[in-house]
Subunit: 360 residues, 2 copies
């Protein structure tokens, strides 16, 4: 058996790079399957440590610590994508890393991601790679005079983005990005935002949870609803695209695929997340195997779970001091309350979420 | 605020006496609510340690370790009832212990438990307290010539029990118990075994999950089904009895109440478990708030969750080497697989369980 085929059986150890709420929920899912979680994260507020059999506190550039960590693991995975690829390379000398470096390389860079999608035959908004201020006027003009300027790398939750509605706003938008390599994306005149949580197993099998309809505010997800206001044809199309993406990447694990739905129903892929995804938290209550367990099953070489849902559901994020309403939320008879154990409720910070099961 | 009113808010610490699978599932439920779990258990195989923010390995008679443990906790609870009452007394000098010493004192002793139940107006089988061999013939004759001889204390999963079908079996049954104080219980001619998982909150509010129908084998639970073959009247009666019991004990937390259903539908209470209970594991998949979270909510002074179920369910225990079939079990599209992370699959040992959601 090569590293590529390696399975983590019950009693085995799943290494997780990253110590936030996604790592926390992955560690809990691993425990349910009798696996031990070993969390690796830099110093800071790492709520995943509290539910893990072991943890390592070290930088993602500490080669010795990464090696020592990976040597304790049957399989290594990750809870967020903004990791140095060298960290994955070091780990992969000792244990399979799933998803692998290629999926991260593609999804860490908005330009590479869109180029990959188009090569795979998947539609996206039009875009220009922007490496200097001088290139912006022509790009903006080509995209119809409006666009969103984003850093190519390390953006999340709406950070590192600036709208440009008029050429006069170019300078301010560019200086907001502090000279980082950028992408100018055309505005998508979308009527709706959707996402699909797709899983691909070690043997290449693929299953998708039902698409969710998402509402964002200032770049941060507020609410996901399933089934939402999504047509059957739209759902089938979104699922088909998600399958094509994970196949093209030879991907192992769960991926979140975000879509814009345009007037008339056409779908553009907005963004890929090579990990469990905020818009899939509803699966914890509405499915027998949720996205976290599905990811653990996929990367550990277990059979994938059935993704059918038994209920409709609505998930709302608790941002910043919204978490202070925990007692009222816990009093809502329909609400499943999830709190992440983070120490400080900074504005906009994801502190927890609430899922309500609905009829349908 | 006195200790009696104390609430454990998000970020607080719930101490759990006991490190087995029930402590493990309690710790996971606490984490979901943003609470830290501190597990206290003697040396040995303690799978709950793997999902807890902290743990203490020490004997239940180590007063210094118990004090140090309880000082780190906002609230202390327990995952099994066979603890020295002195351990609870020591902890209760530093943090509220829920459920408290009275519930344990009553449920640790089969004779005290039955006396309490009868005083509360709850029916049980007829019984005799037996402290010496000489008392057995008269007791057996009084109970109709047959009975089950059990140790008064420290029995679980059918251990410490011997059937007596004829006076000639008295000597062997008595010697099986090694002179421990005993109870002789009449055979209950039951048609069915039921259980109710009841929760009582800090403010006295009570909620019950739907009764489960249980099947045991050699004293060990094999299968729980909800709704099972239970009449509406039977379910209502079981729930009413469970409510009466937790009220009479001024109980805080989740309790498992086991019943015998007789021909004609009358219910006898067989046994009380002052903790989360194996026959309530189905609530993890079939309810928005499961028995583990319900217990955490109750003992931490949170509002209780809604106990309604969205699906019918069947839970089967995985005993001993049945756990080796994990890959086949994980391939069943209806099955939620739970493995407890125990090191050694001894015969009859509870290694995990599987819940299947059913229509209805």
């Amino acid at each position: 058996m090569t590293l590529g085929d390696k399975v983590a059986p019950p009693g085995g150890t799943l290494g997780i790079l990253g110590g936030g709420q996604l790592g926390r929920m992955l560690a809990i899912a691993a425990a349910r399957l009798g696996l031990k979680a070993h969390i690796y994260a830099p110093p800071g507020d790492n709520p995943a440590f509290e539910v893990a059999a072991s943890h390592t506190t070290a930088s993602y550039t500490d080669a010795d610590a990464l090696s020592a960590f990976a040597q304790t693991c049957d399989v290594v995975t990750l809870e967020f994508e903004n990791l140095p690829l060298t960290a994955l390379e070091i780990c992969s000398g000792h244990a399979p890393v799933r998803p692998g470096a290629r999926a991260l390389a593609v999804t860490q860079d908005r330009v590479e991601e869109k180029r990959f999608l188009r090569e795979a035959g998947v539609d996206t908004v039009d875009f220009w790679a922007i490496s200097e201020l001088l290139a912006l006027p022509e790009a903006l003009s080509d995209l119809g005079g409006r666009g969103i300027l984003k850093t190519r790398r390390f953006g999340y939750d709406g950070k590192g983005q600036a709208r440009i509605n008029d050429p006069s706003e170019i300078d301010a938008a560019w200086s907001d990005l502090n000279g980082a390599p950028a992408i100018l994306e055309a505005f998508a005149p979308f009527t709706r935002e959707l996402s699909v949580i797709v899983a691909r197993g070690l043997g290449g099998e693929i299953v998708c949870f039902d698409p969710a309809e998402n509402r964002h505010d200032q770049g941060i997800l507020r609410v996901s609803r399933v089934p939402g206001d999504i047509s059957q044809a739209g759902a089938a199309q979104a699922v088909a695209i998600a399958r094509r993406i994970v196949e093209a990447l030879d991907y192992i694990g769960v991926m979140g695929v975000e879509f814009f739905e345009l007037e008339g129903g056409a779908l553009l892929v907005n963004e890929l997340a090579p990990r469990v995804h905020n818009s899939g938290h509803w699966t914890i209550e509405a499915c027998v195997v949720d996205q976290f367990e599905q990811h653990v099953r996929a990367v550990c070489g277990w059979p994938l779970g059935e993704p059918a849902r038994h209920s409709a559901a609505e998930m709302s994020n608790l941002l910043g001091d919204e978490v202070n309403a925990w007692r009222d939320l816990a009093s809502d008879p329909r609400a499943a309350v999830h709190l992440y154990g983070k120490a400080e409720a900074r504005p906009g910070r994801k502190m927890g979420h609430v899922t309500r099961l609905l009829r349908g």
